[in-house]
């Protein structure tokens, strides 16, 4: 197994950009993922996530800037790919090969595979490897790539929407595998639409919008920057406004009844708590925004019913 110096970032992009004729797919993207981190890479369709990943893999050549894997330029795939394993968004296999042949080939040519762990993964993902790839469903092809990637001891796992074809049971297994990989010290770069999944496994996220990285932050940090939702129930009606509307950081103040109010809060809660101290509060609920709400916030979709969307994949 190749040794990787821990001082250099697992993945580093500097002023990376990619233009396809007139379209700018990725624009001046700078990013550094330290070794051992589980990093979530978010963005709607067409934001440039896959293009960024394909440049990091040397499949596309950047129009500007550069990207490195453990300090090795991405275009030097002979060296850079000794440090990584990849699961593409859309896994295509040679139809006449069996799953086992694909796995064997990837193991023999790839950066080193733990065969015992691979056998365990085959069990856990319930994949029958002795079938031709032609007969595999989208999810099964994805499982082949996932098993191959998780079974490597490559210090960086690049996963591009790896669970789009998996059922909830397999998704749970996937989250466990990410946790195990993180436990072994592997870096995980996870591009995903499944915000609950990112929320569950990632320590830090980067949010991409129209080819630009608009935010990179740890999840708690990200929440602090954003609004939390506060609902308050009072024992008796308060005087008009109750002195809350002028408080720092409070917005969207709404009285659903004379005894119930909701508001959103940005910044530290101390001023609003001082204001609430004067009222007869019987219940107070502070809810941190979900990643989905944060995500929608970034894309300006603040209106109405998006919260009912649950864990939908945005198409």
């Amino acid at each position: 197994m190749p040794t990787s110096p821990t001082a250099v970032p697992a993945l580093r992009a500097e002023h990376l950009s990619k233009r396809f004729s007139r379209t700018v797919a990725v624009d001046d993207l700078s990013l550094s993922v330290p070794p051992g981190e589980v990093f979530g890479f978010l963005g709607p369709n067409g934001a440039g996530k896959s293009t960024t990943i394909r440049m990091a893999l040397g499949l596309l050549r950047p129009s500007g800037g550069h990207v490195e894997v453990f300090g090795v330029p991405a275009h030097d795939v002979g060296r850079a790919h000794r440090h990584l394993a990849y699961v593409p968004a859309d896994v295509a296999l040679w139809p006449a090969l069996t799953g086992r042949e694909c796995l064997d080939l990837l193991a023999c040519v790839g950066p080193g595979t733990d065969l015992a762990y691979r056998a365990e993964l085959l069990e856990r993902f319930a994949l029958d490897p002795d079938r031709r790839a032609r007969t595999y469903s989208t999810g099964n092809r994805q499982k082949v790539a996932l098993v191959a990637a998780f079974a490597t001891r490559a210090p960086l796992l690049v996963l591009d929407e790896p669970t789009s074809g998996l059922d909830p049971l397999m998704e749970r297994e996937f989250r466990r595998c990410v946790a195990e990989a993180a436990g072994r010290g592997q870096t995980v770069f996870l591009s995903s639409h499944q915000l609950a999944e990112v929320e569950a496994v990632c320590a830090r996220v980067g949010i991409l919008r129209q080819g630009r990285l608009v935010e990179v932050a740890g999840l708690p940090e990200l929440r602090r920057l954003r609004r939390s939702e506060i609902s308050v129930t009072l024992a008796r009606p308060a005087a008009a406004g109750a002195g809350l509307s002028g408080v720092d950081g409070v917005a969207d103040l709404r009285w659903s009844s004379p005894l119930e109010l909701t508001m959103t809060l940005a910044g530290p809660p101390a001023p609003v708590l001082r204001a609430l101290a004067d009222l007869d509060v019987v219940a107070l609920d502070v809810r941190e925004p979900s990643l989905e709400e944060l995500f929608l916030d970034f894309y300006g979709d603040t209106g109405g019913d998006h919260r009912s969307a649950g864990e939908e994949v945005w198409a």
Binding site: R54, L57, G58, L59, L60, R61, V77, G78, R79, A80, H81, R82, L84, A85, Y86, P88, D90, V91, A92, L93, W94, P95, A96, L97, T98, R100, E101, C102, D104, L105, L106, C108, V109, G110, P111, D128, P129, D130, R131, R132, R134, T135, A145, A148, V158
Partner: protein, 547 residues
């Protein structure tokens, strides 16, 4: 929908009533889009080539002496290779003899390949799932595609006939010949559609359809050469073309048989189609395999696995053809020694020194560059298809440089080409030895290896196309062999200037084993091939990967 419009009672939620008409028309339009480019190209060749030859015949006909003609008709080898020579004194008759088989093979193979590509190929990639989610059902979608292909074939036939009429040949013969060419295209299309219903993989279906067509060509050759087996004509579209004898006998019955064959094949395709699941086929290989049956542990192993089956398929066709060439060695040379007039004509048509066994096989070995060149181009095209389909993405996420995989793949393809050429040489030697012709195995092998530099140029052109024009790998890869051969024949018959002739790779090949190897010529071809391959590898290394 505007507010003023009253909704129809059967309108769906979107205010739109599904009708079979528009959906069906959309499917037809899709089929037209998928085949039109190839159809235009094939039509141009099928209309242009015979017309050109018919015009060219005016300079030749008075030279054809009556005795020579009679001898031509009686010689089994001539009948076998070029088809039955009838009415050679007529421009149309000469054209049919000279180009009929080649045009029929071109149109038939194109139609078969196009049919498997637009039906099973689209289905295999899952694109038909979207189509079939609409009101159209599988047999309807198949039949609409097939109808478009049959229409395209008939257009090819009309263009062929029109070209000949414009060139001044007899109208009846021209129309009959055009109908037979169009009918052969229809047989190819229907055969392709049937194979695509039986087999679940496009490549296998295309191989089956083209294999059956080429078996038809061999059946025609055997039927022409062996009078006792003359009935084989009725089983092959190429045989029917001979039986019909446009411009000589102008028989219509073979055309009726051809039409009946099309009807039967279409009915069979529709029947199988109606009884199968989408994405499946009755002759499907089982999906599950015995655990651990085969191991795949290296890139060369993968390259070998990908090349092996195509080599077997192409090899079977090449061996069958060259075995026949070997078996005919003596009849052919005896005939040519007795008929020097014909030898001269053959020389003008690109077959020089047919008079000795070695001269005869040397001339036919140059033809070998066409199938082997097509083989290498098709394998590089398969690599381009892998890239678009995303099958190379996982491979290139391993510590595998693109040049390393491509070089591995190309090594496999080159080895396959050598195997094909060697098999052709051995088959010729076997056939010639069987009939007691004077041809050593070494001479036969020298002859087939001599054409490999042309194949190398095809490989180079295909690799360069992979780097800079990845959508056109197959046509550009075949160009040096097919285009070069055509150019040489045209340059020789129409006395074009030497530099134009020199553009053809075949101009730099000596007739081995009849004469010594043209070392500078071969070195030049290999240098061109090496430059193309090196440039292609460099370009492929630097460009963005598609898919």
């Amino acid at each position: 929908m505007t507010t003023g419009t009253a909704p129809a009672p059967t309108a769906s939620a979107a205010g739109w009533t599904p009708e079979p008409g528009p959906a069906g028309r959309a499917v037809t339009a899709l089929a037209v889009r998928s085949v039109r480019r190839g159809a235009v190209l094939v039509t141009a060749v099928a209309a242009g080539m015979p017309a050109l030859v018919a015009v060219q015949h005016r300079q030749l006909d008075q030279e054809l002496a009556g005795a020579s003609l009679a001898a031509l008709g009686e010689n089994p080898a001539i009948r076998t290779l070029f088809g039955p020579p009838v009415a050679l004194d007529d421009p149309g008759g000469f054209t049919v003899w000279r180009t009929g088989t080649a045009i029929a093979v071109l149109v038939g193979v194109w139609a078969a390949l196009a049919a498997t590509r637009v039906t099973r190929g689209e289905e295999e990639t899952g694109r038909w799932d979207l189509l079939l989610a609409g009101p159209s059902r599988l047999p309807a979608v198949l039949l609409r595609h097939l109808a478009v292909l049959l229409g395209a074939s008939s257009l090819v036939g009309v263009a062929t006939a029109a070209g000949l009429v414009l060139a001044g040949t007899a109208t009846t013969g021209a129309v009959l010949f055009g109908a037979l060419i169009g009918g052969t295209g229809m047989v190819g299309a229907a055969l392709g559609a049937l194979a695509a219903q039986l087999l679940a993989e496009r490549r296998a279906a295309a191989g089956l359809a083209v294999g059956v067509l080429l078996a038809g060509l061999l059946a025609r050759m055997v039927a022409d050469g062996v009078p006792a087996l003359g009935w084989l004509h009725w089983l092959s579209p190429f045989g029917l073309l001979g039986r019909s004898a446009p411009f000589a006998a102008d028989r219509v019955l073979p055309l009726v048989v051809l039409a009946a064959a099309v009807a039967v094949l279409v009915a069979a395709a529709a029947t199988v189609c109606a009884r199968r699941d989408v994405g499946s086929g009755p002759w499907r290989r089982p999906g599950a395999v015995r655990p651990g049956a085969r191991r795949l542990r290296s890139l060369p192993g993968l390259a070998a696995r990908r090349t092996g089956r195509p080599v077997l398929g192409w090899g079977a066709a090449v061996v069958a053809y060259f075995l026949l060439i070997g078996l005919l060695a003596t009849t052919m040379t005896d005939f040519l020694t007795e008929n020097p007039r014909f030898a001269e004509l053959a020389a003008q048509a690109g077959f020089a020194e047919l008079g000795s066994v070695r001269g005869y096989v040397a001339s036919l070995f140059t033809l070998l560059a066409l199938p082997v060149g097509a083989f290498v181009a098709s394998r590089v095209a398969a690599t381009a298809a892998d890239e678009v389909a995303g099958r190379l993405t996982l491979l290139y996420s391993l510590p595998v440089r693109r040049v390393r995989w491509l070089a591995t793949e190309l090594t496999g393809v080159a080895a396959g080409a050598v195997v094909l050429a060697g098999a052709a040489g051995l088959a010729t030697w076997l056939g010639a030895t069987w009939v007691g012709a004077d041809l050593s195995a070494g001479a036969a092998l020298a002859g087939v290896l001599n054409v490999l530099p042309v194949v190398a140029v095809c490989l180079g052109a295909a690799v360069a196309a992979l780097a800079w024009a990845p959508a056109a790998v197959l046509p550009l890869g075949v160009l040096p062999a097919a285009g070069g051969y055509l150019l040489l024949v045209l340059a020789d018959t129409l006395s074009w200037p030497g530099w134009v002739r020199g553009l053809s790779p075949f101009a730099h090949l000596a007739a081995v084993p009849a004469g010594p190897v043209d070392v500078p010529g071969l070195a030049g071809l290999l240098a061109v091939a090496a430059a193309l391959i090196a440039g292609g590898l460099a370009g492929y290394r630097h460009r963005d990967l598609r898919g």
